[in-house]
């Protein structure tokens, strides 16, 4: 899922300072799981803003709403009429959600409430780590389920390099050497021969932005946009 962190309070407060009536829109999927922008966090931000502005004797009317996913038109469309009453919107979704919301509700200024960090996993409540760079070319079958593009601090496709120090990376001794881990994984699954395969250059052209994917079943419908 997409991991995000809430922006510093002072930054959000400065963004909404010129307005009298704002809407905070949460997203109930990824950012809710990583405790950055779900319904609860919308409530916390609204409460924090009310407290802070109340201390300065300023009035700010705050609307709160959380949709299932801000990256999905199905959930965003019903929001449009609702947002019309507000002067500005703070979206607590990832970067994709913020952009999609603004695409639909383009009359008011929109501000991001979180910084989108990466695609990662939920190790435990409150502890998230990166796993995928969304490079559009997956090697995981060859590398024992450890992504060299993401997990190797150097992003090497063939390893380990000479910079492995007891399972850690010379770039940062705090970080694991992905290729050392890949070696041990492959050893465990009995397919160490895979590490001998020399991977060709990474097709960076496949991850030029902005990317587009059209499902094969929908080629006829959307093919014209290709």
């Amino acid at each position: 899922m997409i991991i995000a962190e809430r922006k510093p309070f002072a930054e959000i407060k400065a963004m909404v300072a010129p307005y009298k009536k704002i809407l905070i829109v949460g997203c109930g999927t990824c950012v809710a799981v990583c405790l950055a922008g779900g319904e609860k966090e919308v409530g916390l931000l609204a409460s924090q803003l009310k407290l802070s502005l109340g201390l300065e004797d300023k009035r700010l009317e705050i609307g709160e709403i959380t949709v299932e996913r801000q990256c999905d038109l199905e959930f965003l469309r019903p929001l449009c009429d609702f947002t019309a009453d507000y002067e500005a919107i703070v979206s607590m979704a990832c970067g994709a959600g913020v952009q999609f919301l603004k695409q639909l509700c383009y009359l008011q200024p929109i501000f991001p409430g979180v910084n989108t960090s990466f695609i990662g996993v939920n190790n435990e409540a409150g502890y998230y780590t990166e796993r995928c760079r969304a490079c559009n070319h997956c090697y995981l079958g060859l590398t024992g389920g450890i992504c060299p593009v993401t997990m190797c601090p150097k992003g090497l496709l063939n390893g380990p390099c000479g910079g492995t120090i007891q399972g850690r990376c010379e770039v940062d001794p705090e970080k694991d050497c992905a290729w050392s881990k890949i070696y041990h994984r492959l050893e465990l699954e009995g397919s160490l021969d895979k590490i001998r395969e020399i991977l060709p250059l990474h097709p960076h052209d496949r991850s030029t932005t902005p990317g587009t994917v059209i499902h094969p079943a929908f080629k006829r419908r959307y093919g014209a946009h290709e």
């Binding site: 002072a10 609860k40 409530g43 916390l44 409460s47 924090q48 009310k50 407290l51 802070s52 201390l55």
Partner: protein, 152 residues
């Protein structure tokens, strides 16, 4: 009019509530400005409960649970402590630092409850009334609202 701090105490039924009850039975004297909301465990206390209390005009909030290692639900009090520490950061950012504290009071330790209330009251007296209160008393509906939130 003399300033009388209004403090909301979010407490665990197994330990602090029992201690507070005992303090009452034993006729121990302590500042009367504390309102108690009983939770089944401090682990149930949400950040928003604390922030809403301040929105409603509480001068301070104290969270009080079991001593470390003696939670009826094993680690509810430890979770509460993590949340209280985070809530302290959120309040600090909003400009209300120093008005939230976590205590640990065992069921048998009524004097410690009395001391905790006294300590919190003194602290609030030094800080002055919450600027959000503006002469209002703690909103009557808040305690009831919190109780409903807990039960839901």
């Amino acid at each position: 009019m003399e300033f009388q701090p209004k403090i909301l105490a979010l407490v665990c039924t197994y330990c602090t509530y029992t201690a507070a009850d005992m303090a009452g039975s034993a006729r121990m004297q302590y500042p009367a400005g504390v309102r108690i909301v009983k939770y089944l465990c401090t682990g149930r206390i949400d950040l928003i409960h604390i922030l809403k209390a301040f929105e409603a005009g509480a001068d301070a909030v104290m969270v009080s649970g079991c001593e470390a290692g003696s939670c009826h639900f094993l680690e509810g009090n430890l979770r509460a402590r993590e949340r209280v520490e985070y809530a302290q950061i959120l309040l600090e950012e909003a400009g209300l630092g120093g008005r939230l504290e976590m205590f640990e009071v065992a069921a048998s330790d009524a004097p410690k409850w009395v001391a905790a209330v006294q300590e919190m009251t003194q602290r609030v007296e030094a800080l002055g009334p919450s600027p959000l209160r503006r002469g209002r008393h703690l909103h009557a509906g808040v305690v009831e609202q919190l109780e409903n939130m807990v039960q839901s």
